[in-house]
Amino acid sequence: MTHRYFPHTPEDIAAMLERCNMKSLDELYSDVPESLKLKRDYDLQPQMSEKEVRDFFEELAVRNQPLTCFAGAGFYDHYTPAVVQSLASRSEFLTAYTPYQPEISQGTLQYIFEYQSMMTQLTGMEVSNASMYDGTTAVAEAMLMAISHARKRNRVLVSATLNPIYREVIDTYARYHGVRVDTIAEKDGVTDLDTMREMLADGDVAGVIVATPNFYGILEDYTGVADMVHAAKALLIMTAPASTLGVIRTPGEWGADIAAGEAQSLGMPLNFGGPYLGYICCSKALIRKLPGRIVGATTDADGQRVFVLTLQAREQHIRRDKATSNICSNQGLMALYVAMYLSLMGAKGLREVNELSAAGAHYLASRLVETGAFELKYPDRPFLNEFVVRFKGEVKLADFVEVCNSCGCLPGVMISEDELLVCVTETRTKEEIDRYVWRAETFSKATVPAMNGGVAANEMSN
């Protein structure tokens, strides 16, 4: 049997076996008990040619229907410039290993250094690591940092306005690490700061986790919160989708100790959930508590400015069970995506992304309200490009959503029976937004036009 990935010819095998003083390939496994050997082939299809692999995937692809995206909830449909995918696929980046040998890995180390620099700029913090897996695990590990920093305290407060997916991951990590997680109640869509004050007074708090924009898209006002948290000798952890940090007040400006969250919004495709990238940044004082890899600048024997993995003594391969985390592989290449995206966008482009996203979102929100089919759930709360509307139509919200789906649109994420979390990014055109509004006008009524033949197909679909 030959295969395009296996170079061995029968002559090669014979010569190699001879070097090993063996007569057959079976001898290579002579030390494996017979009872353990698999005496049959795998129950899998035989090898496929490349064309057959393509056909297989095409058949799967045909059963996916990408929808025009008005959904956020932690995953954002922003535009990825062509340069990003093109250069990220360079094999010197793609097929490289972790840069443990800096002499032949300066490419990787340089872009990680750029990524770290850019994330500190976005978050307003002093230092960043080389990436975590995603936003949820980054926040969970920020929680572990706070626990480790506090030494004897074992309690963490989490705002009820955090994305529930984040809360679920935090809960899993907390449960097994022995951390007590208490919820700070929400009031009218934002964190109830009075409750936070009371809970801090109860003591034993190592960290407080808040979000802005929060799960509802609301920009929260955390004036005084850092002081409150620090007075209780706890650390303040703040999470935000990275793209929004281009315009909103940063965790650094709010006085946070750790900024952790999701960077997918910086040029990574939706990819049905991954790969993404979790960012984690903190003050310089906490740098030795940071999980994962960190790249630092130094000089080499010829006086050149070069880059290396540094502070490795924190990591699992040296510190083992006393490491700051167990993380080994991180999101590597996705940090290159971020570095390239932000290099092309710059501060001005990132601002424009947010301007357009917010403009589109506010336009959609007001027009949806005008239709009478929706009302804003938190009309007095400021939002950027994501908001919650309550459905007031004559049909069920779920039915309205289904009609939108069949028109090729994902109108948002249902967060309750009658509430929809809607997001607009710079990739949504005015036409797409207007068509959404048209559907809200048309399909919120009890007498929904028949799908077949009732309304012209091109009027409905995107």
């Binding site: 030795r288 490795q312 003594a313 040296i318 510190r319 006393k322």
Partner: protein
């Protein structure tokens, strides 16, 4: 008259009355290489003989510190924050933590300089 005792894990305690200065031995600093960071306890912390109380880091390794005797931390050596390399320069003079001993009888379990030197020789093989 101060006396220095050693533990098998290469910490020393130099005792002066009821005060003890704990650090790592010259043998240890040499094995570790360039020290880049020392994780030290805080004033008021309690050390328990045989228990881990901090760590010394080099570029490629990190070594836990085990308390040779029990005591209350009076102070940690602040100089090591900005200049951890002092341990490489003179490990015996640059102690890591100053404590008040709570059980001087524990000193009997430690080695004197001669016994420690023999211990290091044996470890090399």
């Amino acid at each position: 008259m101060s006396k220095t005792y050693y533990s098998p894990t290469h910490e020393y305690v130099t005792v002066d009355g009821n005060i003890g200065y704990i650090g790592i031995s010259d043998y240890a600093q040499h094995a570790l290489g360039n020290v880049v960071y020392v994780d030290m306890p805080e004033q008021g912390d309690d050390l328990e003989a045989g228990e881990e109380f901090g760590a010394v880091e080099s570029v490629k390794a990190a070594s836990d510190l085990f308390a040779p005797v029990s005591g209350a931390v009076i102070e940690s050596n602040e100089q090591l924050i900005d200049n951890p390399r002092l341990i490489n320069e003179d490990a015996m003079a640059n102690w890591i933590v100053k404590i008040e001993l709570t059980d001087p009888s524990e000193l009997e379990n430690l080695m004197d300089e001669e016994a420690y030197r023999a211990h290091c020789e044996a470890e090399k093989h």
